[in-house]
């Protein structure tokens, strides 16, 4: 069963590449190069080492902004989900935060912080934070009240309540937040890097754009997409499997 699923996945990836190649064959290569050309270009970037330098810069920024937002969102989300007062206080912040486009924050961050590392990290932080908080807030509201009551009956102090009852129920929400936040962070960091930085994948894409090199634009995009794929399979999927090992297998 696992084997046939893997096969389906490979077929799916293959079909994307085929579709890309088919469409590319209809257009001149300066407008839309095919996967082979882009793959070669990406290969060259990887071998020359340029890819890794900019990838590292970008990933570091995403991680910094994301981790900070994650920590704050867990605390804020639990507070909002468990205290009506806090919910009323922070709900407008979350809603306003969700509405402001990431592009605005990227521009504002560069205007406030200039060409520094603080600019992209700040932009990621403020864009990702409301989304993650919303997620943790809903997660806390979904907590099983019966279990919390059980913990009170057994006189569980706050620490035990959090560790044994609350956090395990929030873990699936944390995982969703991780996936979502990471993907969102990547979209914001590229904008930031385009506006006001001199390194990173976004900066390189912008440079390729100025030179009107379609090969390079797509090579950088494809490269980062592959990295995100790797993160999903090497980090998030294994974590997910570990989290639900206590759940019996469901067949529908």
């Amino acid at each position: 069963m696992a084997g046939s699923r893997l096969l389906t996945r490979l077929l799916s990836v293959g079909s994307i590449l085929l579709l890309w190649a088919a469409i590319a064959s209809l257009f001149p290569p300066t407008l839309l190069p095919g996967p082979l050309v882009v793959g070669q270009r990406l290969g060259a970037l990887v071998v020359e080492g340029e890819f890794w330098v900019h990838l590292r810069a970008t990933i570091t920024r995403v991680l910094a902004g994301f981790v900070m937002a994650f920590v704050v969102s867990v605390a804020a989300g639990i507070l909002m989900g468990s205290r009506r007062r806090m919910e009323a206080l922070f709900e407008p912040y979350v809603l306003v935060g969700l509405t402001i486009p990431g592009l605005c924050w990227a521009v504002l961050a560069v205007m406030w912080f200039g060409i520094t590392e603080a600019a992209p990290v700040f932009a990621i932080f403020v864009v990702v934070l409301p989304m993650l908080t919303l997620n943790m807030w809903q997660g806390t509201k979904n907590l099983d009240r019966d279990l919390v009551e059980m913990a009170h009956v057994f006189r569980a102090p706050r620490g035990v309540l959090l560790r044994d009852v609350v956090l395990p129920q929030l873990l699936p929400f944390c995982l969703a937040a991780g996936r979502f936040g990471f993907a969102l962070g990547w979209k914001v960091v590229v904008l930031s890097e385009m506006f006001g930085l001199s390194s990173g994948v976004g900066y390189m894409i912008n440079r390729a754009f100025s030179a009107y090199s379609m090969d390079d634009v797509l090579a950088w995009t494809a490269g980062f997409t592959l990295v995100m794929f790797a993160v999903e399979y090497a980090v998030f999927l294994p974590i997910e499997r570990r989290l639900v090992h206590w759940r019996p297998v469901v067949t529908l």
Partner: protein
């Protein structure tokens, strides 16, 4: 320890305004290590009584005494078995049983020893490392009983613990409860709406009225602890209890 529930009154505010009396001076006593069943119609506030004894709710008037002392959540240990098991599905059976002990800060070695003991008592040795969802409903409820027993409670409250099981499983669970009943040091208050279950398991049955609730009748079960469900004496007594409930 002897449990005395004396003149407990409780009203709940209604959303539409006004107050609805739930408990109207409820009084009953359970001797030390006794097993009392509270039988009443649905919605008569049985869970409210247990929640007040457990200290989850404040009563408006009245007093609860344990060996003559006013009940306090701080000094008295009270075990609670809910209608549903309420287990932590992400923790193993033994971790669930140790929950109350961890909450009380009991050291690890003693926790493990006590958990082993109570798991043996409820007939679940060998299941310590399993996760709750891989167990049957009846076994999950016994894990919940073991969790309540692990804290060595002075009072054990059971809120219709077998009402969510099918009748055959429930029977098995009641037999199990009778089997280890004598090895428990706690004074037990067992709430149910099932009159036969009440006379089968307990030393004495208190019949409750509909809201506002008071005790309307009291029966002592004069039978040895080893019992059969089809004992004519128990069946007879069950009929009497049902009559007292006024649900003929």
């Amino acid at each position: 320890m002897k449990l005395e529930v004396l003149g407990i009154r409780k009203e709940f505010p209604l959303t539409a305004g006004g107050r609805r009396p739930v408990l109207a001076g409820l009084t009953f006593t359970v001797p030390s290590r006794g097993f009392a069943a509270l039988v009443g119609p649905s919605g008569c506030g049985k869970s409210t009584i247990l929640n007040i004894v457990a200290g989850l709710l404040e009563s408006d008037a009245g007093e609860i005494r344990i060996d003559g002392q006013r009940l306090s959540r701080r000094t008295h240990r009270i075990g609670y078995v809910f209608q549903k098991p309420r287990l932590l599905n992400w923790r193993t059976v033994v971790q669930n049983v140790e929950f109350g002990l961890r909450a009380d800060g009991v050291p690890a070695a003693e926790r493990a020893e006590r958990a082993r003991h109570v798991l043996g008592l409820v007939g679940l040795d060998g299941f310590a490392g399993e996760y709750p969802l891989s167990l049957s409903g009846g076994m999950q409820q016994r894990v919940a009983i073991a969790r309540a027993l692990a804290i060595e409670p002075q009072i054990l409250l059971m809120d219709e613990p077998f009402s969510h099981l099918d009748e055959l499983t429930a029977r098995g669970q009641r037999q199990e409860l009778l089997r280890f009943r004598d090895k428990i040091n706690a004074t037990v208050v067992f709430v149910t709406h099932n009159a036969l279950e009440a006379v089968y398991l307990s030393d004495c049955v208190y019949v409750l009225s509909a809201r506002p609730t008071t005790v309307t009748a009291e029966f002592t079960i004069d039978a040895p602890r080893t019992r059969r469900m089809d004992d004519p004496y128990l069946i007879d007594l069950q009929r009497t209890v049902i009559r007292a409930l006024g649900a003929d």
